[in-house]
């Protein structure tokens, strides 16, 4: 065992990509030393159920219960309840499995009884056998709103699920963000961690609603030296979801350089995929140090390898471009012309 196992790690995360990263983290670091700070701006109330898609994806994935093919919900779930709603004439465009609805009923019922989302999340994580800390970023409502190219504003899940994110956007805003306070434990988790990781989640709608909570941004700014982000963009594309398209439509560079522009104020280092090694210098020019590593996590082993790269890099003080310790990749690329 090397020194990695002593480190406490706080991971800022959305759903699938971050959850996969966490499966790697959990296989490297003792769970009690891991805190996942999870986006809640995708949360929606549908059919009266409080649904927290990112929290559920994180918990289901870490508990080994997630449907990894589908990318959401529980493996082997059934669809009786939602189909009954359809029989009753409900336009149930947001699919929910029967067992998944068990989770939502649990959450909704406890929230109505006055528990906070963090308290409910603690119970859910515990009930699923997890020993790591899963914290919603806030107990206050923050709601991602998508402004379409047409000017119409819609809820995030309408954009993401109902419209299959297959429509041009003109803007994104997070309703309630200015009033949102970090949930108990979030600032401490950022302040006290040996390493803060920004997971390879959608920078626009998974990570930005975390960073945009004023107190969190301020706290992260002071931990820049200890913060490493992983680019979810590889070769100008998101592995999953609309991150690249959204960035382009918002006028950003949908490359690791664009990701660096987003994170440079709060993270010292950006991990980019080996496929993007030619952009290392551009990322450095954008203001971040670079680690080049295989970032595609097809397995827990691959995720664990990525985690080890990140943790090793976090131990290398005053590094410039760090070569990944595992599966090192040379970066011989010239700086891109500007």
């Amino acid at each position: 065992m090397h020194g990695n196992t002593d480190k406490s790690v706080t991971v800022l995360t959305g759903g699938v990509g971050g959850a996969r990263y966490l499966t790697g983290q959990i296989s490297v670091t003792p769970p009690t030393k891991i805190t996942a700070v999870v986006n809640i701006a995708d949360d929606a109330t549908l059919h009266g159920l409080h649904i927290s898609p990112d929290i559920d994806t994180v918990i289901y994935t870490l508990a080994g219960m997630a449907d990894t093919e589908r990318g959401w919900g529980l493996a082997g779930d059934t669809w009786h309840t939602i189909n009954e709603l359809r029989t009753l004439g409900v336009d149930a465009w947001f699919n929910l499995g029967d067992r998944d609805i068990g989770t939502h009923l649990f959450r909704t019922s406890l929230l109505r009884q006055g528990l906070s989302l963090s308290e409910v999340t603690v119970r859910l994580a515990k009930a699923r056998g997890l020993d790591c800390n899963v914290l919603p970023v806030s107990n206050d409502p923050v709601q991602t709103k998508i402004i379409l190219a047409s000017g119409k504003e819609i809820d995030f899940q309408e954009y993401f699920v109902r419209l299959s994110h297959n429509v041009a956007i003109a803007g994104v805003r997070f309703a309630g963000i200015k009033q949102a306070r970090p949930a108990p434990g979030v600032l401490a988790a950022i302040n006290n961690a040996d390493l803060v990781v920004i997971a390879p989640s959608n920078p626009v709608v998974s990570i930005d609603p975390i960073l945009s909570i004023p107190e969190i941004f301020d706290t992260l700014s002071k931990r820049r030296e200890y913060t490493i982000a992983i680019s979810p963009i590889i070769s100008g594309k998101a592995l999953k979801g609309p991150a690249d398209r959204m960035m382009r439509e918002l006028g950003e560079d949908a490359t690791v350089t664009g990701v660096a522009s987003r994170y440079r104020r709060i993270a010292k280092t950006l991990v980019i995929d080996t496929k993007d090694s030619c952009l290392s210098s551009a990322v450095e020019k954008a203001g971040m140090e670079v680690i080049v590593a295989p970032t595609i996590m097809r397995s827990t082993k691959a995720a664990a390898n990525l985690v080890r790269c990140v943790m090793t890099a976090s131990e290398t003080k005053n590094s410039q471009t760090v070569q990944a310790r595992f599966r090192p990749v040379r970066n011989n690329a010239q700086p891109l012309p500007e």
Copy 2:
């Protein structure tokens, strides 16, 4: 066709027994001429779901979807959601099927959006293909509370389901009953019906919470001539459920005579089972006219026969003891000694 089909009928009902009676009514009378006024004092909020057991039993039964073996819920339902709640550590003593939960989510969600229980019930009945009118007796909350012999007061479903009604009671009260207003259409349905039927439901916890709403009692009192009750007690026992036990524990006569004592002020006639024909005179002494008929409804055909008896009796003016027109039974019994 005889004149029965022209009559409008309003049936005051609880769950199973009344629902069965209604299956008979619907096979005799055009559905649009039938109004079911349904008890809501059994309603409960469990796992955040608004559950209306009697309304659901009536609708499911009339739609041919009820699990008649079990006596509640939908035939062929599955149990994934409720089992998941159990996995999460919830003491889910009130069983709910997955498709049944679809109904509860539909109701709960619309109630939260501000629709009344009657409006939701109209939608549910329509979605299940019913043309008869199904009305909750009130849109205001009325909650049956059971006072146990120990003095402890518990919710009805705790008594009925959790404790399997296998515990002695000292009293029953209906929280909220004095403030409860009849739902829109209920008083008109009672006032305008050619025939009002009190279904063979539990007199203590299904029918009494209907009768105890002040305006309903007053309105029913004025329709006494047109009102026929069917005893749910046969040979001193309830066919199903704890009606006989409850009546005894409340110090009442758990026979058709006890039922007559409950209904005589608002119903002119009591239908008693052939097995109880010896009690006809006692019922008359208790203040009601008597019809003796087979009241056990093992099939829709049996229910329809009972309905026809009731409707024929309602056409017989100034009758004393009426012999059922279908399957007549002679009543040669002597009055019981008092």
